[in-house]
Structure formats: C-alpha cells, structure tokens
Symmetry: C2
C-alpha cells in the first residue's frame, strides 16, 4: 500500500489460519460478514488509505460457516463471495457457497471473486468473465497434492490453471497464496498476477518465497477483444448453441466412471 | 506404428496442407467423409496394421466444407467430429461444426475428438470428458499469435491449455501439431500427450522439432477419481446447480465489453 497499491489481495483465511481441526475451532474463529470485527477493520483500513481490499475469512451465518471472500473499499463493504467448491476437510466445516459468482463495480473496474480450489473448475472464471469482470481476485491456500507438485521451472498446476483461465477469458487474475507449513497443511506459493493474455505480469512467486507481487493493469485490455486477427474473439466465438444442447451432460457423468 | 502404436494422431488437415488462399482451393481438396479416398486409405491402413487413426481433412458436404477429424480403426470408419470453433480465415472456407462433441467406444477405450482452436474453449474438453472419454485426440495447426509465443521453457499457451484441460477433467489428451511455415502460416510445435494429472507424459515437443511422441496410457486412470483426498472428486464436485442458474450468461456478454 505504501508502494501505491490500489487493490490488495490477501490469502485464503488470512486472519485466522487455514487449517482447522474441528468444526468447533472453525466456529470459534468465524464472524458475521460484514458486521464482524475483521471486515470492519478492513473497511477502516481501506477508508483510511483509499484502497480496495480482497480478504477472506470464515463467515458465520447462524449454524452455517462459509469460506468467504469479501471486497471492501474506501466506500466501505462492497460485497462478498462464498467459496462454491470446497477442498478436502473444508467440507466438514463449511457449507458450499450459495451466492453464485458476483461481479462488483468499483472505481477501479469490475472485480470478481473466487477462492482457491474454485479455479480447478473452468466454469467459475468463465461465468465471472462473462459478466464483464476486468480482474478476478483469488485468495488461495493451494496445498500439496499428489506429485509432481511442480515442473522443472518450479511452477505448480494451480499457476497454469490461473494463466489459462486468464488467457481464455481475456481477464486479469490476481492470486495470493500461502507458503510454508501450517499444522498439517503445506502450501505451494506460486502466487501470480496474470495478464489478459494469460502470461504472468512480472513473474510467478517461488514455491517458498515470502513476497508481495505488484502489477499495473489497464481495463482497456479486459474490455477489448484480444488482437488475434480480424475474425476471432474469444467471447463471441463460444458455441453456446452446442454447449446448451448438451446441458444434460453437465449434471454428472452419464457413463459410469 | 512400427514402434507398436495402437492409436495414431495426425495434425490438422494433414493430407492437404492447412493454409488455403480461397474457398475454391479448399473445395478442390475436400472429400466426402467417409466415402472419399483419404478416409478410405486410412481405413485400409488401420485394417492392415490393426491400429486406430485420428486424421483430419476438409470434408465436403454439398456446398459446405467442414474442418473434420475422423476416427478409423481395424473395423473401418468409426466416426467424425466437425471443428466447432473456427480460427481466422477458416471462417471464410469452412462451416462451423454441427455435430456436437461425440465420444466413440473402441477396444482401446472411449475416444473424443477436438480440433486445434477448440481447446481455447474449456467447455469443449469438459463436455467430452463428461461423457466418459478416456482420451481426447486433437489434430492441431497451432499458429503464431500475438507474442509472447513461448515462455522461458519454450512452451506455448496452447500446451498449457492442453495440460490444464487434461488436469481438470482427469482425461488423457494427445495433440499433434505442425511445425515450420506453410505459405503464410507459422506453426508452434509443442505437441504433447498429457496424462490425467495434466503433466506431459515424457515431454513437450520443441517449437521446431520434427518428431513423433509416444505414450502408454491406462484407462484405469481416466475412470478413477484422482487421489487428491477422500473428500474431493473433480467431476462430482462441479456445482452444476450454480452453473445452470447462470445460463443466461452463457449467451454472450450481458455487459458491453
């Protein structure tokens, strides 16, 4: 922020820690959104410094908990997104998100929110981008999964998922991941800010690198068809007629797997 | 084939050349499928050698031309797929495919077909995989697009699109690209066979490397949920309820871009 950032993205569940061992632990750290103290503190900071913040925290709503990303700005709380694809034991603590894939208008541009494992589902970035998002902000806690974790360049599949999602949707994507080990969870780092062409702006953070990434983005790029040629446009060229004919297949696997 | 291949994938429009300068040229090289001589020759070869072949050719159907991938095997012609997303001047010569995303049962497993630019649309591999495909075969003519074409490792975005599509769908993907320059088209190489975990089996071919890639695949992998943990499965975890609520957004961009 002292470096001039206008939009700050924090990792998943950044204020509480990621790894809960019981539902009781998760409840003890959860807060209502936006009326709990953490969102209020982010609002205060955003107002004081004239910045936008994407945070993520365990949201308390009656007996339900959600893994919730929030967007706050100088004008206060703007909106929230409840993680729709829960990873591993998150399924024991959290309820799957029920708010769809909102996109928020801000003075910086249109901001969409996803959380971590969501990016494994190409539908998510597609649905956000189709609503005209300029940038998708993704708090993440990308954990160790079956090897190989990284390729020879030290890049994990999650970073490639981010790059390709940005590329095919012509949208900026900013991810903020954790590093190191917390209780039983090991994190993969590899935070990146992908340009609308998919390639990282600057670089992909190292697997164990404690750092902050910066990038300038220009919403003209996310609102202009990529200059492939005169005849193609990624969004226009979608064959919605065919995708919709096959809606039945979206419901699961008609053939046993 | 002399190396023991059971399934052979050829590049896009391999028998005719890729770059047509006029619709007349494309017509002159087009054939009915499967009754034309090229598919008959592939059938003859497949029968003689006991192999499956995925080829691609300009298909003639009345006054329409399609950029069509075909699957033939020892039993003869099995089926075809007409490219649904046309790249650049293909739009001047070809009609967009109208056969959806078929998956064919063979003695090797279930084979899906896509062509080149289709992989830029994550819906395509998703729809094929949701039908239980074990391997998606993609004849390609990946051409030079706005730079950067490759990252520091010499890998192009198309290869990452292939890897991530394989990864999120738990499906094998075999691509066969061209290299070099043909008339006004420069090709990017980078053919690869991706495993169900997304990573290349063996390696990604170089940008200018004239080679054949081989891989052994085991359909147990494409029919088994990836061993992430006990709680997740990539196909089961899809939030079809939310994706379908947003069907209206599939039709285009509701906000001006």
């Amino acid at each position: 922020m002292a470096e001039g950032a206008n939009l700050i993205v924090l990792p998943e569940l950044a204020t509480t820690g990621y790894t809960f061992f019981s539902r009781e632990e998760a409840f003890a750290h959860a807060e209502p959104v936006p009326t709990g103290p953490t969102v209020r503190a982010w609002e205060h900071f955003a107002r004081a410094h004239g910045v936008y913040i994407v945070g993520c925290l365990p949201e308390l709503d009656g007996w339900k908990l959600y893994d919730t990303a929030v967007l706050v700005g100088p004008e206060g709380f703007i909106g929230k997104y409840r993680k729709t694809h829960l990873w591993n034991e998150e399924k024991l603590f959290f309820t799957p998100g029920d708010l769809g894939y909102p996109v928020f208008e801000t003075r910086l541009g249109r901001i969409g929110l996803l959380v971590c494992w969501d990016i494994w589902f190409p539908e998510t970035a597609r649905l956000v981008a189709q609503q005209g998002a300029d940038i998708i902000c993704i708090p993440t806690g990308w954990v160790w999964t079956p090897p190989p974790l990284y390729d020879a360049s030290g890049t994990c599949m999650a970073a490639y998922l981010t790059m390709t999602a940005a590329h095919v949707n012509n949208v900026f994507i900013a991810t903020a991941d954790r590093i190191g080990v917390e209780r039983t969870s090991g994190f993969m780092g590899n935070s990146l800010i992908a340009g609308t062409n998919g390639w990282p702006i600057g670089r992909i953070a190292g697997p164990d690198e404690d750092t902050i990434l910066y990038a300038d983005i220009d919403v003209v790029q996310s609102r202009t068809a990529p200059i492939w040629n005169q005849l193609n446009d990624l969004h226009r060229d979608r064959r919605v007629d065919l995708y919709d004919q096959m809606l039945g297949y979206r419901g699961g696997s008609p053939l046993p797997r």
